[in-house]
Symmetry: C2
Subunit: 246 residues, 2 copies
DNA sequence: CCACATATGTGAGGTAACGCACTTAAGTCT
DNA sequence: AGACTTAAGTGCGTTACCTCACATATGTGG
């Protein structure tokens, strides 16, 4: 739809100079990681890029470092909703590990950055080998299911400004940066509300000095405040994502 | 909350005399099934029974035959929402297979019937053995994630009567029976709407001669009509659940 | 600098669902 | 039979969000 080319300032606003690494891969024993390394390739993901469409053969699986991938579902051709968010705590393309070659959701790059890419064939091989990667992918699967479940509840019950706050916090956690390019139009597809609804919600957050935004660039001014404004879902999802990594 | 004891007429209204079996276990090669059999025990699940609470240690994993288990999430102490439904196409307690000992959702028996029960310890052993069960549980994980994702979208966008129609169809598919005991109060917790909302939606369906209900007993009168009334989400979820079983 | 595209703000009218307070109906218990 | 409990229907004011139709910015390219 709008896979528009976007700014190449993906590193702008990075919180610190430390290179972000995929935390899931980072849990692996050195030996196992060394074995996987030849199969991993670092790639740049750009905002708006589609990694795979629903039903498409998934060619690669992506372990984000400082990028973010949104898993989104379509409804009736016009509306969209993000059902899951994947950052350095996880992997996009889990279906392949599960022995399925496609996914019913679309994987859309929602935050520019780098990711480690592995071919689906290599992932399938790894899926048939017990060990560290196998185990951590299992635990991540559970974590992702928990995230999607909690988001489902959140999308059903909570007000748009609270959900926007949660979403910004989750993005901030994964992107590392406190400033990122995102239009309200884009956000409306993530939250499953009209653009005008995002406008209103964003105004509320800006009025509270929690964020600042202008023409597709959002800056987080007050994380604490955002956490207070967001629903408990943020903490619940974060807790689940943090603990599975041990 | 209301774990009220319920009627023992769980077999009433069964569509046909054929004993329902868990389709997931049914895909296993005879040899593997024979190996698992000693670890499986047939148990009766009764409407309202809680198999595990959020955070609880999960002791057993359940492969429903003709029973149904709802996975539900709590919001702010008062509201509930079903995030997933498990029948003979799946298993309740997948977290154990994923190497996690508890789940953030509550597993509530939503349709009485039998299930095959396996201890968590046995499941953990099986999880570390590649083979048929391992593979099918992988594919089921993907299917469940798809279901939860699609439900999330559905809960966000679709009208209560369409969602009720979908829910009744999904229950009908899993329970086999065209008649089942369920109060509107119970349904309101599944759909995440007020009891009055269920009352209104159910009236609409009854006015269209699609269902009949009275004091906690619902009868499906016109499946075709229900399918027309429900949103496309029903077909999408069903397709995903049917194909993963090959 | 000016046209133009894109991003955002706003207001009016509509609606599905909520919250609340009831009533009505259908079983159950003694 | 009568009291009681539980299930379900109804009406009303409120609300968050939607739909639609604009107005107003803020960049960008010729």
């Amino acid at each position: 739809m709008h896979t528009r080319s976007l700014q190449n300032d993906s590193l702008k606003g990075r919180a610190n100079g430390a290179p972000a690494v995929n935390r899931l891969l980072d849990t692996l024993p050195k030996k196992e990681y060394a074995r996987l390394l030849p199969k991993l390739k670092s790639v740049n993901l750009v905002l708006g890029e589609v990694l795979y469409e629903p039903g498409d053969l998934i060619r690669y699986v992506y372990f984000p470092n400082d990028s973010i991938v949104s898993l989104i579902s379509e409804v009736s051709g016009t509306s969209w909703l993000e059902v899951g968010m994947v950052g350095n705590e996880g992997v996009a393309g889990l279906a392949v590990f599960m022995g399925v070659s496609s996914s019913p959701t679309r994987a859309l790059v929602q935050g520019s950055g780098t990711a480690m890419r592995m071919s689906s064939a290599a992932v399938r091989t790894e899926a048939n080998r017990l060990g560290g990667l196998h185990d951590i992918l299992h635990r991540y699967s559970h974590s992702l299911l928990a995230q999607v479940s909690q988001s489902s509840v959140c999308n059903r019950f909570h007000l748009v400004d609270a959900r926007l706050a949660r979403w910004l916090l989750m993005t901030n956690d994964r992107l590392g940066a406190g400033e990122f390019p995102l239009t309200q139009e884009f956000l409306s597809n993530m939250l499953g509300v009209r653009r005008e609804g995002v406008s209103k919600a964003a105004s509320i957050l800006q009025a509270g000095k929690l964020i600042r935004y202008s023409r597709g660039l959002i800056t987080i001014l007050n994380r604490r405040g955002l956490e207070a404004k967001s629903c408990r879902c943020y903490r619940i999802i974060k807790a689940e994502a943090d603990t599975y990594l041990n």
